[in-house]
Amino acid sequence: MRLLTARLSARRRSRFAGPVVLMFALLLTGGLYTALSPASADDATSSDTDTVAKGRELFLVGCSTCHGKNGEGVDSTTGWYGPPLVGVGAASVDFQVGTGRMPLAAPGPQGADRRHVYTDEEVEALAAFVASLGPGPVVPSEEEYSPDAIPEDEREEAIVRGGEFFRTNCTACHNFAASGGALPGGKYAPTLQGVEPKHVYEAMLTGPQQMPVFSDEVLKPEEKRQIIAYLRNLEESPAYGGAQLGSYGPVSEGMAAWVFGIGACVAFAVWIASHTARSTRKGAKA
């Protein structure tokens, strides 16, 4: 059975199968989206102006001290400075505010503090406002990032390919098990476990901080989705070998060998040597 699916999947990988299936999938989901999406195009523009206005208000209160009133950025020598946001796009705002990085709590090498200050609507409004400053990457739609949108019979192959993309593009910073890694200068690539698929997608799209931008030319949208599918598989697959020891690789394994292994062996050695055949053990010394 397994052999059969493997052979099938090998055939599926023929030159045309992929694009054709993808076209169908896109057409289908696209059609469904336009049919089911609540807001029509005209509605969107009128409600957009409202959202932008609301976003502008929020921005003036929460963000302008660092990013300037019109997102032009504030340059200062004291370090309280925010880069210009013109052209960073809605995706960047959604990522930065959605993951709780922005508004930045305090200057430091990296905004890690996950304070969620804004509601989803407010984030949307902020994103709309920043997007109105200049064109940039838009917030991805659910079927772009959600691994659930991958057809059932292609999921396994998507995970395999996602794994390849992940190992080639991401593990250098984020570690093989996506448990994070250090970067020079006190910066670090955070763990990707528990990060929402949307934010993973946006991170690739906008490249926060040290992370490179993986534009759609570098990693096609469906490849990004495959990476997300792999990450979810990584999270959901059982811990085959037992306790994962943080998934940090040989360093934590070595630690465990010394602490648990040698520790237990020495404890037993002490125990065995102290249980002697002597009549009483009092005064048994060295």
Partner: protein, 595 residues
């Protein structure tokens, strides 16, 4: 003398086993040999079992390794993976990697065996290290055991090489990254580096020969050498007999402990099951080297957390913190940042370990045989040197995992590097100094115990209102143990006229040696002489007599089993420390026969 003699001489009815043993004996004459070994005496102390951890984990390695070799395919031929692990199915990979995945997911108990094998490998080398530390710090490497020390050092080196070869076998991303670094080390050799690398890998790295080659080294060559050396190690141990801690009844001429049969064999055999159980538990409960997560080796990939196994951590650390020095001479580039940490430093450390006994013997000028161990405090420089080396090792170890430290403790990677660059020069000497001072103060406290007794915790108030703590003499056993130290002789370079005609170079060596020897023993507290001890005892008796006069009602307070009030020590027969068996040492005392 032996307490278990009853069991041994009990007449037994000829059983089937007995008959078989008889049959074998009549044809091989083994009984005579075996009888002698059965009566072999082993002293008892937990630290003497550390080497056993290494021995037993080696046995676990042999068992699990043979299991793995039944399924592992040492081939770098490309195959398409079709096993049970979904997330890699359909990928192209080497047969070695695919078979490792099969062992992990499709062979019954395969993952358990792989993990046991790997945990046992970590334990094997770790146990050799702690065993080496024990031997070092107790001076057990001194004459006549230098050869066994050398064998131990070579075993350690071979164990590390064996582990590295094993680590490379699965041909996953970590294996490949490790081999890449090894390739870099080889290539860094000036002039011949590239040729050596081509020779090793059979062409351009990675080629398709390295895994089969490492496999032969891993399952045949190095295990064979290890087995032979372990055999030699044990035979020397049996021949020279085990060292022991000094104590009443234990001298340089005997061994006090338990006979091989049945007590020691039961203990050692039981310990095998303990070590086996611990590796089985670790293999069953803790993930190690989850190769399916690393993916097949691909020279274009790398992952954060790429580290070697812990025993290579020091080399890794040195590589990581070394500044990027490089010089170019006549078109040949010497990459110091690889040559020094990767080639020169490990060799220096290894030769240092191997030759230590000879260096120390040269300084102390000690040519006598030692079967009694030395307490760490009584050799302050040796202990301090160990403390310094352990600090050095620990720092480099931490440097090898600098990225993990940075993530776990929110540190700055660069700061760790700067810190380590300074720390490896500053902290080891500091550790040396601290450990040395500590040892010497422990010697002082021993001396105080011998001359003034131990602190009883009983506070005395004198008639004029002063307070003092009462000291009571220590037991005869303890005093004996404390006094069982070698007399120390500082080497003096011959002076003046004696040196006429001696080459200047030789004189300089003598003077250096004399200086080293002075430093070696210089600050040690001499052990008290007989006169000092006798005077101290007279003093104590006098003191106690006076004090008892004042504190009649408290006479029980200080008599806690060590002193019966008049300060005289009843020399108790060693009822509670009765040695189970004593064996003479024929090497130093040819007259006394083994019992």
């Amino acid at each position: 003398m032996s307490t278990n003699a009853k069991a041994a001489v009990k007449p037994a009815k000829p059983s089937k086993i007995g008959a078989a043993a008889n049959y074998a004996d009549e044809r091989t004459g083994m009984a005579g040999l075996a009888k002698k070994q059965i009566r072999k005496v082993f002293p008892d102390h937990w630290s003497f079992m550390l080497g056993e951890i290494a021995l037993w984990s080696f046995v676990v390695l042999l068992i699990t390794g043979v299991f793995l070799s039944l399924w592992y395919k040492p081939s770098m031929a490309e195959v398409v993976y079709n096993g049970s692990y979904d997330a890699l199915r359909g990928l192209h990979m080497s047969e070695a990697y695919a078979s490792t995945l099969d062992i992990s997911f499709d062979v019954r108990a395969g993952l358990l065996m792989r993990q046991m094998h790997h945990w046992a490998a970590m334990l094997f080398i770790a146990a050799m290290f702690v065993h080496l530390i024990r031997v070092f710090v107790t001076g057990a490497f001194r004459k006549p055991r230098e050869i066994n020390w050398l064998i131990g050092g070579v075993l350690l080196l071979l164990g590390i090489l064996e582990g590295f070869a094993g680590y490379s076998l699965p041909d996953d991303l970590l294996s490949g990254t490790g081999l890449r670094i090894a390739d870099g080390l080889v290539k860094a050799t000036p002039v011949v580096g590239t040729y050596m690398s081509f020779f090793l890998f059979g062409g351009e790295f990675p080629g398709d020969l390295i895994i089969p080659r490492l496999y032969i080294a891993h399952v045949l060559l190095i295990p064979g050498l290890l087995l032979a050396l372990i055999g030699a190690h044990m035979m020397l141990l049996v021949y020279q007999k085990h060292t022991q801690w000094p104590g009443p009844g234990r001298t340089n001429e005997n061994v006090v402990g338990y006979p091989m049969m049945p007590i020691y064999a039961a203990k050692a055999g039981g310990y095998f099951f303990v070590v086996f159980g611990i590796t089985a538990l670790m293999g069953g409960l803790m993930s190690i080297n989850p190769v399916w997560r690393f993916g097949p080796y691909n020279p274009a990939e790398v992952t954060a957390g790429s580290q070697p196994d812990w025993y290579m951590g020091v080399a890794e650390g040195l590589l990581r913190i070394f500044p990027g020095w490089e010089t170019s001479i006549f078109g040949v580039t010497a990459t110091w940042s690889v040559i020094i940490p990767g080639q020169i430093a490990p060799m220096l450390i290894l030769t240092g370990i191997l030759f230590y006994p000879f260096i120390e013997a040269w300084i102390t000028g000690d040519k006598s045989e030692h079967h009694l161990l030395e307490r760490p405090r009584n050799a302050p420089n040796r202990t301090a040197f160990l403390a310094a080396m352990m600090t050095f090792y620990g720092l480099l170890w931490a440097a090898g995992g600098n990225d993990i430290l940075a993530v776990l403790f929110n540190l700055n990677l660069n700061h760790i590097t700067y810190f380590m660059r300074v720390a490896i020069f500053v902290l080891p000497p500091l550790a040396f100094w601290l450990a040395r001072r500590w040892c010497i103060s422990l010697q002082r406290s021993d001396e105080a115990k011998l001359l003034h007794g131990y602190e009883t915790g009983v506070i005395m108030r004198s008639p004029d209102g002063g307070y003092s703590e009462r000291h009571a003499p220590i037991s005869a056993e303890e005093a004996y143990t404390l006094m069982a130290r070698d007399e120390e002789k500082v080497y003096e370079a011959p002076a003046g006229t004696d040196l006429n005609g001696v080459a200047a170079r030789k004189v300089r060596v003598m003077q250096l040696r004399s200086k080293a020897s002075k430093y070696w023993f210089g600050d040690n507290i001499r052990k008290p002489t007989r006169e000092q001890l006798e005077e101290a005892r007279a003093h104590a008796e006098h003191e106690l007599a006076i004090q008892d006069g004042h504190t009649n009602g408290h006479s029980n307070g200080h008599a806690d089993g060590h002193s019966n009030g008049d300060g005289r020590q009843p020399v108790r027969s060693g009822s509670h420390a009765a040695p189970a068996a004593i064996e003479g040492r024929s090497s130093t005392d040819p007259g006394s026969s083994e019992k």
